[in-house]
Symmetry: D2
Subunit: 380 residues, 4 copies
């Protein structure tokens, strides 16, 4: 029951994904950042030409200015393509990075950082996670320290598993200051900021991998503060909720893609005298996958509607993140199973989607944490 | 995000359930039909006085004339009380029976049958299920036969597990005729119509139990035909979809009730030095239960919205029935577990809700069937 | 790979259950304790005549003197009959009660209490659970108090959910004393010992229901102490481990019975043009049920073998209790589902087995507790 | 309850894995076959020196001559090391290849093929799977054809997902002949035998990848027949059962390794003021993982015991394959979750074990197939 405008846009994005983005997919791009970069640039030009670039970006920043309810539809469509969110410039971590800059950036920061991001000229990362005993699922364990220095701050810290950190031109990160946690934004070529390695993970198409980063006596100027000094924790919370939901939107598209491929497969493959699609165990997997996606979509849409009305979605977004991250994992797992040996191979993107879905139960707060906090809020 | 009118009505129903209906609950009513009947009559009078009687009934039949979206809210509230749906006259099987009569009844049938039902003066049953090899989940296996006779029909058949059949004043049932399956409506005191026994089941508060019925050379007049001759299968399908969804609405209320009780319990009970509610395994059960109910509610609401727009919900209602019936079962099961020995006793209604939830995965079409047919329709 | 002797005994028990015990089953016995008592007496006489009475009892007490490995086989066979364990006098709570008396009783206590139990002349209960804030899953919360009195003790306390408590001739219970927790054994007609009610629960064939008991200034003599003063907790632990495993053994038989009935059903019932047993969703339920029972049996057998060698099975018995209680629940649930409406009715024992299996995840320590303690022991 | 000899051997293997094999592990070996080959050669020399080489091989072929029950213990220990089974020469596909040759090979074939395999001088593959519409889970769909030719046979066919096929020196494969399916063994440098590519998959340490192979007018001599002409299907069945169980044994070791790593992690990492290991959701994951491994081990041991007595394990091995493949998947998944971001990275082998476990639900016959056939055999 979409309005006509959104429906038309959705169809346009779907057509773009099917005819432009999907044909460029190839497993090699998972490992070859340079080639991925080239593909990405090419796709963005075409997306811009097609009028579908930056769905979530304000019109003054070159985007389509969609609200969350509309984004839910379009991000799902984009997510169907392994390169779709990159093509439309609504991929993480830059989609939430741009949102953070829109909310917190000064005019100068917007010109310096947000502009290049919206135009796809630069990339950023959000460097929060630290190795034990630092900040993991619990941001309160933050160890990175920023101390006042003449004309700015001196930062020391150690960051890990920073998505996109290898290719980032600048980084947003929280650090402890006397006034509390504060967010900073700095170019990655700032002296004392050092990417020490790219951590291999199970995941797929990610420009800029997962970086380990050292901040060693890194001097940064006063105007590197993003938002208010000492308000970092509040700023982070503000970022995480929509970031989490945007992830859900894109992942629903990913899982739907896997399901489309698996459905095609089972309708052409036979075993023991039956078309696979005529076997009830296969039918049950298909039914359950559609149920999972339907419920996921409705939960995401509910959050989006509330966010568009500026209603708090603390509990709803926690429930949605838990459910959707597990639902898309189940769907991807079933698709692998339906496709047999083909499903675990790179001959289709199903295996990649299955791998990509796994960290989602961990990222944006492990689901166990969300469960515990959700229950505590309900019982309070 | 309810409109004010529905919100006000919901609050009124909630107040009624908490202050009027719940105080009358007692395990003995499960077995004592006469006492249940008395309680039911008393509650209906109070519900009528409170202006909440017959939420789904048209105003001309003494009801509130709510649409499906509004019913979703009110049926859930009513379902929180074990006697709530009976009190509001929106309990099965009479709620779908009244709907069937509204859709298919002639003016005379409405006066004779629908009127007494809407006023709570009589009860009906819908007698479809038959013992093997007759109609079970598959209505096409129908064996009951109606053959033309002078001034009417002669019916022979055997029905089983007919909810409410013990206390019904009249029965609606399908039978094979030369023209195809046809629906009939007859008083239960028609000669040749015989209730042979009440089948004990795991379920709880059900006026009229689960009857086994024999139709032996039962002569019924021409005007006993309900709807069109030979169109019984289509009529049945029309009935089942909203019946299924109404079940979902009420059961969400049931499960919510169990969860409220379990939440109260874990916040007062200690074990091994902790309040139960401080233990993560308990918190996870509470979180998962809220997720289950949230998703259930959204799926039901989506179907209701579509039905209000007269859009077909064939796939959506199948997905909803499967998901909700399993979700409320999980919620009830977790509530039992959280409450320990108290949970399996009749000292709270939690054990009754747990039992009641079980058949819902079977009634209105076993979930396995819905899964297979859903997948086939999707793949077609 | 049973030895010939055990195999022969198993076959004899199987024959007895099929031809003697099962024919006496009827749903009415669930509620009618007197009739159940009569049936039980009759069955015990026949079991004694058949040479299968008291499989676990020492020969000097009229039993067969089986070790745990042999009991595992025989208890499963007995458990297939709803009246089987009662018939063989290996039903709870008397089976563990007799074991407790064998381990802890003085010669006089054995004559007074154990003898009548072994001969089936009397019944006992084990009264540990208390209403909140007393002992539930956590025995350390015990509130019942025994204070020294002339020639004995004065006991005050409140017990709840005491299986068999309604029909018990004497009771074993723990109480706090100055020296620590102490076990006592007293006739239930002792002044100050009062059964206040029978708590209705979801469970089935249980002579003596689930009692609530008040101990009000109950004077008991010195020789009512069972075991050592102050060693009650250790005595309880000693009791619980084999009690738990005996439950597992019997429940495997229960679940197997339900599966036999469901398998027979699906091989005769059709739907949508297929025999139910030809549908893959049914086949998957049958396969998973056999896997559940196979794994359950092996875990029980492993514990039994270790216990026969007097090796500690602390972790193994916890793992077994968790797995088996959930596995038999799954099996019973699938059997209900496979049988449709018949499955939730009392027309077969499947619905009763489904209900009986539910409390097993709670009794003998809720599974959540076992999980937490098991993990702590492993990590220690 | 192992005998002393097996216990001593197990301890020796455990020591070897911990001190020799694990230190050589590195993610790079997953992709670098040449380096893996070098590591493998080095490890085998050390394993031979340590007296633990070829546990399953007959003494006359340089092995330890263990029976299946002993192999169950030793394969699990070997499986703990990512390079362990390769080091001991009990890794697939050569472990079942050697078994097949022992059973079916002529004396000449044993000298030519089995000898080099047992000494680790050559490698083989078993080429059964074909692209659609050929043999997948259903071997009856075999399309590869061998027709009589002068002095031998002419083979045409297409094979896919052949584990180890890239590095194999010879291949065993089934083909249709006039007499029925026949097994052949040929050097991979036979003209007309062509490896067309290495198919990337989710799996890890596998020398020789997963090959796609074309057989184009491939002429092979008469003595390439392995076993009896026309008896290929029977020969394949004979191979698959122990191959499946050997997989189970090694995978239990894999999952145990992941669990050891996760347990170490949760005992050192804090979040929200608690050590992770003190949180009940973590404890539940640990408990469930031990239960899964315990049940898996008992099911494997039961099959091994029966196989050592030459008793058919058709149903037991199907149940074991289904249960163990899913259990190790669950364990690996929980370990990933417990370790958070570290769990999805290659910084520990946990992510690799998680990936490796996935195909096991597909390989050796998809679990859905095993379920359907198991149920059919039970119901027959």
């Amino acid at each position: 029951m979409l309005d006509e405008k959104t429906e038309a846009l959705r169809d346009k994005v779907r057509h773009f994904i099917d005819t432009v983005a999907i044909p460029l997919e190839q497993p090699a791009l998972e490992k070859d950042v340079a080639a991925l970069d080239v593909a990405c640039g090419q796709l963005r030009a075409q997306a811009r030409a097609a009028g579908i670039y930056g769905p979530q970006l304000p019109r003054e920043w070159g985007g389509l200015g969609l609200n969350w309810s509309e984004c839910a539809v379009i991000f799902e469509e984009a997510g169907r393509g392994m390169l779709g969110p990159l093509a439309l410039n609504c991929a993480p971590p830059d989609q939430p990075n741009m949102l953070t800059l829109l909310h917190l950036g000064t005019e100068a920061q917007k010109q310096a950082y947000l502009g290049p991001l919206t135009r796809g000229e630069k990339r950023a990362c959000f460097a929060m996670t630290e190795p034990a005993p630092g900040a993991g699922s619990d941001p309160n364990m933050l160890q990175t320290q920023a101390t006042r220095d003449k004309n700015g701050w001196r930062v020391n810290g150690h960051k890990k598993f920073i998505s996109g950190g290898i290719a980032a031109d600048f980084a947003i990160f929280p650090a402890r200051t006397d006034e509390g946690v504060t967010l900073f934004i700095v170019p990655t070529n700032t002296p004392g900021y050092r990417v020490t390695r790219d951590i291999a993970t199970v995941t797929g198409y990610q420009i800029g991998g997962h970086a380990e980063i050292l901040l060693e006596n890194c001097h940064i100027p006063d105007d590197a503060v993003l938002g208010e000094i000492g308000m970092g924790m509040k700023h982070i919370q503000l970022r995480l909720e929509p970031a989490r939901l945007s992830h859900c939107m894109r992942f629903i598209g990913r899982a739907r893609r896997a399901l489309e491929i698996a459905q095609d497969y089972v309708q052409t493959r036979d075993a023991f005298g039956s078309r696979l699609s005529d076997l009830q165990q296969i039918q049950a997997m298909i039914a359950d996958s559609h149920i999972d996606l339907h419920a996921s979509r409705l939960m995401v849409r509910e959050c989006a509607t509330l966010m568009d009305r500026a209603v708090s979605v603390k509990n709803e977004s926690a429930m949605t993140k838990i459910f959707v991250s597990e639902a898309v994992g189940r769907v991807a797992d079933r698709c692998v199973q339906m496709m047999g040996a083909l499903g675990v191979s790179d001959d289709t993107v199903v295996s990649c989607i299955w791998r990509e879905a796994r960290p989602f139960r961990i990222y944006d707060g492990a689901n166990e944490l969300h469960r515990a906090f959700l229950a505590k809020r309900i019982l309070r």
